[in-house]
């Protein structure tokens, strides 16, 4: 009974907390919806992604015309193999990569002046003096920035749908990729809001947020590369002897991986990629690509990943598995050329991103706690 009551009280408290945070969202959204700049950005975004989609489609068409001209100069059209039945997957991949790229550019602009912009405007202290808690203010600002970013995603969605419609892709693919794009936007927005509370001036916090995004996109690759150079180790392996590849033999009869292992086991110097794969996992492109489901291709006629998304995911998963799972003839075992790794990498990457964003957010919250004991240099409460 009393447990029931505490439960109910907790529920009511949460409801009140959320209502307060929502009021902040309303305040932010009203301002955003009245600024012309936001609409201009949205329009530019729509046009640019539309252009990219059209260009991809046009180039695919041109390529197909060229292929036809070469393969059937007399004009007889032969059926194309099923995996390249339409431009869908290519358009989808190009547009997805481009949308993620632009999203990573837009999200800091929408979020990284949330707190210090208000401080400069003189409105932060007025809000802090009300019954709102620092957590409500920050959560409201984050939600508002995220909703604004989602509007951009919504504007890009039609082009992703075109990709799905034009080629045999499952609706699950687009659902998961939109979801993961939304999650990545949330991560970048919370980094932006967090930095904006920690840095004194909007310009500085926007630049810092861009730098953090650049670290995630490019820095993780560099760190992985350099880290791999340092993460040396040894394994024991013997030598693969490759089966002869007879062109007349149907491909399906070649048994994967196409080699056998023989000879004495010897120590081999290898790169222990599994030790630094977490760098790779933090990359937003890897997180999104790895989360998108794709079929196990090990039984396909050509056991290789199809398209960029799958390749990124396979490469990253192979790096995470390390040489023990991928080196040919490690411990005398042949390894399949198509690496079957069902354990996804993206939860690790997203988890690390959330730790980063959450840490910044917590630090930001402590900056907004009132009555304030310590003020950062050169700031005024009001």
């Amino acid at each position: 009974m009393s447990a029931h009551e505490t439960e109910a009280r907790k529920g009511a408290a949460l409801g009140a907390w959320l209502r307060g945070a929502w009021d902040v969202v309303v305040l932010e959204a009203k301002q955003r919806l009245r600024s012309r700049g936001w609409y201009i950005m949205l329009a530019v975004w729509f046009v640019v992604i539309g252009l990219v989609t059209w260009l991809t489609w046009a180039s695919w068409n041109a390529q197909r015309e060229l292929n036809r001209a070469i393969s059937s100069p007399d004009g007889v059209v032969t059926d194309l193999p099923p995996e390249s039945a339409g431009p869908g997957s290519m358009i989808f991949e190009v547009v997805l990569a481009f949308v993620l790229f632009l999203a990573l550019i837009v999200a800091p602009a929408l979020s990284a002046n949330a707190v210090n912009g208000d401080r400069a405007q003189g409105t932060l202290a007025v809000v802090q003096a009300t019954l709102l808690s620092p957590g409500q203010i920050l959560a409201g600002k984050l939600a508002a920035a995220w909703l604004a970013a989602l509007a951009f995603l919504a504007a890009a969605a039609p082009f992703l749908v075109i990709g799905v419609a034009l080629g045999g892709m499952s609706p699950a693919t687009i659902a998961v990729s939109l979801l993961m794009l939304a999650v990545e936007l949330a991560v970048v927005c919370s980094i932006g809001v967090g930095v904006s509370a920690l840095a004194g001036r909007p310009l500085f916090s926007i630049v810092v947020t861009y730098l953090i995004v650049a670290l995630l996109v490019v820095g993780t690759l560099i760190a992985f590369g350099f880290g791999a150079a340092l993460a040396r180790g040894t394994i024991r392996a013997n030598n693969p002897s490759y089966l002869e590849n007879i062109p007349t033999r149907p491909q399906a009869q070649i048994v994967d991986p196409g080699y056998t292992c023989s000879g004495p086991l010897t120590q081999r110097e290898v790169v222990r990629t599994e030790r630094v794969a977490w760098f790779l996992a933090m990359n937003p492109y890897v997180v999104v690509a790895d989360a998108i489901p794709y079929p196990d291709r090990s039984r396909d006629t050509s056991p290789y990943p199809q398209g960029a998304i799958e390749s990124v995911s396979q490469g990253a998963r192979a790096a995470l598995a390390g040489p023990d799972a991928t080196y040919p003839c490690v411990n005398g075992q042949p390894k399949p050329s198509y690496f079957v790794q069902t354990t996804p990498l993206w939860p690790l990457g997203l988890g690390l991103q959330l730790v980063l964003a959450g840490g910044l957010f917590a630090a930001a919250r402590s900056r907004l706690v009132t009555p304030a004991r310590r003020l950062s240099k050169g700031t005024r409460v009001a």
């Binding site: 307060g20 902040v24 009203k30 405007q121 409105t123 009300t130 019954l131 009555p371 009001a382």
Partner: protein, 338 residues
Amino acid sequence: MSDQPVPADDDRDEGKDDGAGPAETGAAPERGVPQAGIEVRGVARSFGPVHAVVDMDFDAPPGQVTALVGPNGAGKTTLLLMLASLLAPDAGSLRIDGFDPLSDRAEVRRRVGWMPDTLGVWESLTAREILVQIGRFYRLPSSAAASRAAELLDLVHLGELADQPARVLSRGQQQRLSLARALIHRPTTLLLDEPAAGLDPASRVELRRLLRSLAAEGTTILVSSHVLSELDEVADSAVFVSAGRTVKHQRVDDSSRGRRYALYALDLGAARARLAELGVVFGEEQGRRPWLSMVLGTEDDAARLLRDLVSGGVPVTAFAPASGALEEAYLQMGVERR
């Protein structure tokens, strides 16, 4: 600070019951408040090497307007920020209606309306939207916030501009909006930082009238200002601060030290003769017109002297305190400027 519960001022709640409906209970003060008013004891606060507030000590009773007077950099704004529960004091204690901003932040915020010296305005929102939104932040239900906003917009004469974006408001209008914002949740305590700055004379008179009527309803009002003549009219007492310390707390009608009066007459010679006859010590002053100055103990003394002068045939054209009471006290204080 006494812990004895003092019954809350019932009139206040009844008096404010107009318009907002039943929903306003969220922000209304509770009954049984231990000690109404503001209490400041030995408060200090520094920012790194800058000691903004060194040692401040005073009470501001409910139902009165208390002026916080001091030169720039004396620590007035810092003190108000601490009372508004935005800054924590390094030492000393603060109480608002008996609540400590450090431990009872929500209670303090429910009671305090704070009007900052810097004008923060959401430029793209309208005056009405700003008030409603701030009302929501004080957990007023939407309908109550809307009716309260309408009421306050009329009170500060922004009714016609209510639905214009705040960026079109002039400085004085923004100042009035800021005052309305501070009043949205019917606070028991008002902290006003330079409220008269940027106001035209009519608005100043309005502000004065508004503060007096709020005080009459029992609100504790603390006003910081430089415009001493303004405060003379509205304040019941004044706390003088200098270099982070409270140096003096006096009632505006306090006349223990006597006041300097100015006497203008068509015939200064006759006035001199009559004053000498009455045995009043006076000084000669040179101004746009020459005048005579004298220090008088009480207002009764002044009234008696004027009667004697007039009945003695002196053609008096003006007889009044030479300067505002606060200005005189302020100048006597020999304050330090930073």
